[in-house]
Amino acid sequence: MTNIVLVTNNSVVQEKFGEKLDVNHLPQATYLETLEVVRDKIHAGHKLLTHPLSGSVKPNDTPYKTIVISKAKGTLDYDGLGIIEESMASAQKFIAGRKTPQWTDKVKADFRLIDFTIISTAINSMDGKFIG
Amino acid sequence: MSKLRVVHYINNFFAGVGGEEKADIPPQARDGVVGPGLALSKALGEEAEIVGTIICGDSYFGENTKSAKEEMLKLIEMYNPDIFVAGPAFNAGRYGFACGEMATFIEEELQIPVVSAMYKENPGVDMFKRDMHIIETEISAADMRNAVPKMAKLVLKLAKGEEVGSPAEEGYHERGIRVNYFHEKRGSERGVGLLVKKMNGEECVTEYPMPVFDRVDPLPAVADITKVKVAIVTSGGIVPQGNPDRIESSSATKYGIYDISGMNDLSADDFMTVHGGYDRAFVTENPNLVVPLDVMREMEQEGVIGELANYFVTTTGTGTSVGNAKGFGEHFARKLVEDGVGAVILTST
């Protein structure tokens, strides 16, 4: 799938997909910073392909987020822009109420796994399909 | 039991000091009751008394907000209050802003209950309703006899730690806070009920109102701007020196149209800014920073635009109610169209 880019702060995603797919790994980025990078890419003309608030784990619980965007740039993806902006506002609202806790390694590993499996199924869903 | 000590904040108008010409008076304190404080005092009854009244001019507050707040805090502290009441401000935008700013500031600094009262279109409502209780009033001071008792009742409840009821019960503007409660019926039953009503065209009230979608659909892009007459419209508060039409520095109630024929730029001798919402130093030196006449004139001369209109339209954006802004736009848009203007550059700050 050469027409997508994964923007992520999840090292498991880099590890498992790094060879086969284009992964933009931001190891130091926070959840919110990862969303900001995606927003900037949408501004630059990339298309948003997955929903930024995937998973029911709230933005102030999980530290990890992977989002898929198109590799190619085109005219501004208005719908995608609306979605990423709303998602950022939503994330900020949760984080303002209570910061992401300092989780143990085991818990962090579980959050990475959930983020990874959710994005894997999304990627499998895209395979061979038109992504615009 | 000693009475609760109340400090009341009013503006130049309500203090009987004077109207617009006295809107620039600095903060001052008077012991006891002044003006509408009398009605407030009666409404408070035996449980509380107004020990001091703070007066401040609306323009002074708008143009010196930071220092005015500190000055007023010092005056208020002198009275050692248990309660702070600001207003009622009705539809006065600058006063509403000042009431909201002071009340939320005092609540934080002195940790005492506060209340104000405003008409729904007062910009102070949207700005401050989340952070404090604002009683809903009619548009003018004629509503004093309704507003004041509600203010008194609510702030006494707050002072005594009693539970505050819903906006409908207590008379305050909806604050936009979601509060849980257990309904008699379960959600699905309520949902089916709402659906049947909706299908029958009956009134049904949503349990969660969506944010307001007040969007204006843009017109298609101008095909060839080299052939179009363009006008400059600004909410940056640029006016001729002396502000002859007395456009307010915030919560504007009017707009102005000023001639620029023959000018290649706005001279600092002829024009000034009255906008209270930004640091004016740069613009005072060079008004073209907000109304870019210099650049537009060049473009006109080079043929980049067809023609520049020989006037610009101006008002102050900060604190101006949505209702007023809409009204201004609808009004001067007609003149622009009559004068053959095909496109507008809007500068805001």
Binding site: L53, T104 | N180, G187, G191, Y208
Partner: protein
């Protein structure tokens, strides 16, 4: 399809030699349940414990809740495609042990989820404080992969639910309710003057711990389809969703879907309940476009005058909710949405992650961010070790004395977005 649902009222649960129901008491042979669960070699150990309403008992972490039911007659068996053959269900006669539940508990991931207090101030937030619960605490073999553990726990719950349900097969129900939906032409003709209503049921479908199954098919891989409402009563839909306890739709809630029940209550009176449109909540945005377009197509094709839409989850599904709302409105139906809210702890922020102007009629299932106090309980079924890593819990929320301060997000089904509870939120 016509289903007779026989409701057997359970008023106590006790251990017994034989798993059976007698005079309203459910007797459970614990060993029988343990043996059944242990047949799956992914499971190392199983404990069975009871929790009754009013007891000073806390159950944590909860995975799924299953109401014991059995198909007495009609094609198929409970939970088709999951623990029984794939065969269309929803007709004939089914018995339900109402007031009893099988609850699976186990620490699948480090961030656990789901508390049920059987008494005290937070009991009112979950329906399961009022049922007689058979709790199955599942321990996996060492180093079991997470996917496998989730599946093992899920299937164990369904199997045990079906096993216990068997006890109701030959018992005379206290109440029999008949539900019937005819094929579209007949159904329309039956009440020609009543508005036609459909229920758009959105299924959680994002991935591990976020899955739902229709006849065993992962909802992620479905395109929207039509379901007779009674199919759900026989377990055609099962839950693999273990995240965000407050709005997790348990298998119990699928079996007892309140929108379906309440639509049937008025069916033939002031509405004509046509049926259910199932759809999903995929992460891939193009899937959302596809699914919502197809939902709109169904609304138009079935000629629906009105629809109710429910969702499961927060954030990502809010976008599906709004797309379904918009397209159903465009297809000519009046729309009512049911959802829960997350306006932040102070209640001042936006409650939903998305919004469209067409969403003008919405039922609220409450604010999940509100913080509540859980007093200590005498007994904990499961473990409290992980409360702080439960969604809704946070550092410092579990205290030494066993009391907890946490958001109501942590309580199973407290703000479930299908309208099952009476919890709501209003504007102050």
């Amino acid at each position: 399809m016509r289903l007779e649902l026989g409701k057997i009222k359970i008023t106590d649960v006790q251990p017994g030699e034989v798993t059976k129901v007698e005079n309203g008491t459910l007797f459970v042979n614990k060993q029988e349940l343990i043996d059944l669960a242990m047949k799956d070699d992914r499971i190392k150990g199983v404990k069975v414990e009871f929790a009754r309403p009013g007891e000073s008992v806390r159950i944590a972490p909860v995975k799924d809740v299953i109401e014991p039911r059995v198909k007495v007659s009609g094609t198929g068996a409970m939970f088709p495609g999951m623990i029984n053959k794939v065969k269309t269900v929803g007709s004939g006669r089914t018995h339900a042990l109402v007031g009893a539940n099988v609850i699976t508990c186990g620490k699948i991931v480090g961030f656990q989820e789901g508390i049920i207090d059987m008494s005290g101030p937070t009991a009112k937030y979950t329906p399961f404080s009022e049922t007689f619960n058979v709790c199955i605490v599942i321990e996996p073999v060492d180093n079991l992969e997470t996917h496998d553990y989730e599946q093992a726990a899920r299937l164990a719950g369904l199997k045990i639910g079906a096993l216990v349900g068997e006890a109701g097969r030959n018992v005379e129900p206290d109440e029999v309710v008949v539900y019937e939906t005819k094929p579209i032409a007949e159904q329309t003709a039956q009440y020609p003057n009543l508005p036609k209503v459909g229920y758009i049921h959105m299924l959680q479908s994002q991935g591990l711990l976020h899955d739902t199954f229709y006849y065993g098919v992962d909802a992620k891989q479905m395109v929207p389809t039509f379901m007779y409402p009674t199919e759900i009563m026989d377990g055609a839909i099962t839950s693999g969703n273990c995240v965000a306890p407050c709005d997790k739709v348990t298998t119990f809630h699928h079996l007892n879907n309140p929108v379906i029940e309440d639509l049937y209550k008025r069916h033939g009176k002031d509405l004509n309940f046509i049926g259910v449109i199932l759809t999903n909540e995929n992460v891939f945005l193009a899937d959302k476009e596809r699914s919502s377009d197809m939902v709109g197509k169904f609304v138009e094709f079935l000629g629906l005058d009105g629809v109710i839409i429910t969702e499961e989850g927060y954030g990502n599904p809010d976008t599906d909710l709004m797309m379904n709302c918009k397209k159903s409105t465009e297809a000519g139906a009046k729309v009512v949405l049911i959802t829960d809210e997350f306006p932040g702890r102070d209640g001042k922020s936006q409650s939903l992650a998305d919004a469209v102007p067409e969403a003008d009629t919405l039922v609220s299932c409450g604010n999940g961010n509100v913080i509540v106090e859980f007093p200590p309980m005498d007994k904990v079924i499961g473990t409290l070790d992980y409360v702080e890593t439960m969604i809704g819990g946070y550092e410092g929320s579990l205290r030494k004395d066993g009391s907890i301060e946490a958001e109501i997000q942590i309580i199973i089904a407290s703000t479930i977005a299908n309208g099952y509870n009476t919890l709501s939120a209003k504007m102050y």
